[in-house]
């Protein structure tokens, strides 16, 4: 064997292990990518359990996987758990992912959204804020903060974030306008509330909730005609939804010119809803508005005799006590 042949064989022996390692690496990367694709496809098809199984297997087998790939699989896994309403596991997955990738925008938003969904609003606020630290004008984070602050009743902050979101996003969304209108309505900023409720109505004019909100705003502005028109429309669209109906009858019972109509309507309502305490109360109020005090008091006594500790009962008791 010539020297050259021996030298070539020597080189092959030297590089073979390295080549095989690189080759194995390529295979591993290929396998990881395939698993991620499979998990994503399973998720997209709604096969959440399958996506979870692939995701879990991936994380067990590839603990040293690069962050980029781990991030993708964590997102699929977390989203799949969330889609199956398994919030505990979804929270664990996102939190675990954020330990590895604390600055990942999408993961922070996913976790914030999940906290919002599970009504842990203070935690949602914390992670929306983290998302804003990564991307200071992120629209999803701004909107999330607007909604989370609305839920905890911190209305000025809620309005602040809604405003920022609306300034940056020209896309018209009835639900955002509606929430912003609610935030203003609850703070008695009635002009802003009506402006945005009407914007929501322009986009979605078959939504009873929007008409109901507009009716309540007009009612607080003492614009009775507009309030009645809108609450009637809300009733029509919602097929006489009970909360809207009772509110409408309460308004009518409180006014002298409509108290008698309210009395007739509430008696009809009571036939279908014999257990409604508010209906009995509305009957009493419509009698009181019409000056029929004794009759009204006998109605309130019916509420007093009921065995509960509701606010309605406490009010009825107080009216009886004061008369």
């Amino acid at each position: 064997m010539s020297f050259n042949k021996i030298f070539v064989l020597f080189l092959i022996t030297l590089f073979l292990p390295l080549q095989s390692e690189a080759f194995l690496g390529i295979i591993k990367r290929f396998d990881q990518k395939q698993k991620i694709t499979a998990a994503r496809e399973a998720y997209a098809k709604g096969n959440y359990q399958e996506a979870i199984e692939i995701g879990q297997k991936f994380l067990t087998e590839n603990q040293e996987a690069p962050k980029r790939r781990a991030r993708r699989i964590y997102l699929v896994l977390g989203n799949a758990y969330a889609a199956l309403d398994d919030y505990d596991h979804a929270l664990l997955t996102y939190n675990e992912a954020l330990e590895v990738l604390p600055k990942d925008l999408e993961l922070n938003l996913a976790l914030a959204n999940l906290y919002y969904k599970t009504e842990l609003y203070d935690k949602a606020i914390e992670f929306y804020n983290r998302a804003l630290q990564i991307d200071k004008d992120n629209p999803k984070a701004l909107l999330g903060l607007g909604r989370a602050y609305l839920k905890i009743g911190f209305l000025s902050k809620s309005r602040h974030y809604f405003k920022d979101y609306l300034n940056q996003n020209k896309e018209k969304d009835a639900s955002v306008y509606y929430d912003y209108a609610i935030s203003n309505f609850l703070s008695n900023n009635l002009n802003m509330a009506i402006e945005y409720a009407q914007k929501a109505q322009e986009i979605d004019n078959n939504n009873p909730d929007i008409y109901f909100l507009i009716a309540k705003i007009h009612n607080n502005l003492n614009e009775n005609k507009m309030a009645n028109e809108n609450i009637n429309k809300a009733l029509q669209l919602s097929d006489n939804r009970e909360d809207i109906l009772l509110t409408s009858l309460l308004w009518k019972a409180y006014k002298k010119d409509t108290a008698n109509d309210a009395l007739k309507e509430i008696k009809e309502y009571q036939k279908q809803n014999p257990n409604s305490q508010l209906a009995v109360f509305i009957e009493g109020i419509s009698l009181l508005t019409q000056g029929k005090k004794q009759k009204a008091l006998s109605i309130f006594k019916k509420i007093k005799e009921q065995n509960n500790d509701s606010f309605i009962k406490q009010i009825a008791e107080q009216i009886i006590k004061n008369n």
Binding site: I152, G153, Q277
Partner: protein, 318 residues
């Protein structure tokens, strides 16, 4: 299917459909009436409703939660006729009452630093405190308040306001309800053992929280007949203060917990801000305290509205 089984099924369906399964719950019915009556209540003329007094407790930086509480009460349209406060409660009450927007108040509290409180918070001052036993001066804080509110007097405030301080010589409670606002505020938050007492009319004044942590009695004397007490709740939870300031504040909290028991009994409604996990001296957590205050007040709001409506039921449902 056997005839009897079909009959039973039909009876079941008849009973089931006979009920209105979409009926609103008792809770929802209460909420409908509450929303309606609350609007009527806040529109009542002053003479036709309860006179509402709000008192804000002491609590050092935990008391920043009062800003969140005031925000919620104010947004709900709650009419406030009288106010009082001790220590941090006095600061928040005074600034709110002087017309500072709540958002500005949040900004102030989130950005406050030691230079706003004392010029002695430096190496020289600390050495004097340690070796010459000279307490820090809180004069800067008075200037800071004056700068923010524009040298207002108690008499200039739209809502009658009082805050409480203590005379370290006699142990007496000293009430500020007239004269320069900033002086009373400084005296009310003047932590004993840290700040030198404020000399005022032969008195040596220190933090009011040590004699009246939550001055319910002040708004009562002013004429309130419905008192809302706001308590920035401390939590001892077996933790140990980490420094001298922490020990001083802990003593105040312990004494405060005893004093507030009586104050809570005198109040018609108590809002508890669950800020116990926040250290009294942690400047970095004021924003969190404000948010906890807002969330605590918002949770308490339905019950508060109900009690106020009940107190004015004759005027709401005439």
């Amino acid at each position: 299917m056997p005839y009897r089984l079909i009959k039973l099924l039909l009876i079941f369906l008849f009973c089931f459909l006979g009920q209105n399964i979409f009926a609103v719950t008792a809770k929802e019915e209460d909420a409908i009436l509450r929303d309606f009556a609350w609007q009527k209540f806040i529109e009542l003329p002053k003479q036709e409703r309860s006179k509402v007094g709000v008192t804000l407790s002491a609590g050092a930086l935990r008391g920043a939660s009062h800003i969140g509480v005031m925000e919620v009460l104010s947004e709900a349209g709650l009419p406030i006729d009288y106010m009082s406060g001790a220590s941090m409660g006095c600061i928040v009450g005074a600034l709110y009452n002087a017309g500072l927007p709540l958002e500005h108040l949040q900004h102030l509290v989130n950005n406050i630093n030691t230079n706003h409180i004392s010029k002695d918070f430096n190496i020289g001052g600390i050495l004097r405190y340690l070796f010459a036993e000279k307490l820090f001066s809180s004069a800067e804080f008075q200037e800071f308040i004056d700068k923010e509110v524009g040298s207002k007097n108690y008499e200039d405030l739209p809502i009658p306001f009082a805050c409480v301080s203590a005379d370290i010589k006699t142990g007496e409670k000293v009430i500020f309800d007239s004269g320069p606002l900033s002086l009373g505020v400084r005296a009310s938050m003047n932590l004993p053992g840290i700040f030198e007492p404020v000399e005022y009319r032969q008195r040596l004044l220190v933090d009011g929280g040590i004699v009246d942590y939550m001055p319910v009695d002040l708004v009562k004397k002013m004429g309130a007949d419905f008192i809302i007490a706001v308590y920035a709740l401390p939590s001892f939870a077996g933790t140990k203060p980490s420094n001298v300031m922490g020990y001083v504040l802990r003593i105040g909290d312990l004494r405060g917990a005893v004093l507030t028991e009586n104050s809570e009994r005198q109040a018609d409604f108590v809002i508890l801000s669950r800020v116990g996990e926040i250290s009294s001296s942690d400047l970095s957590k004021t924003n969190l305290a404000i948010e906890i205050g807002a969330s605590s007040a918002y949770q308490a709001l339905p019950k508060l509205k109900e009690q106020l409506i009940i107190s004015g039921v004759n005027y709401v449902f005439q």
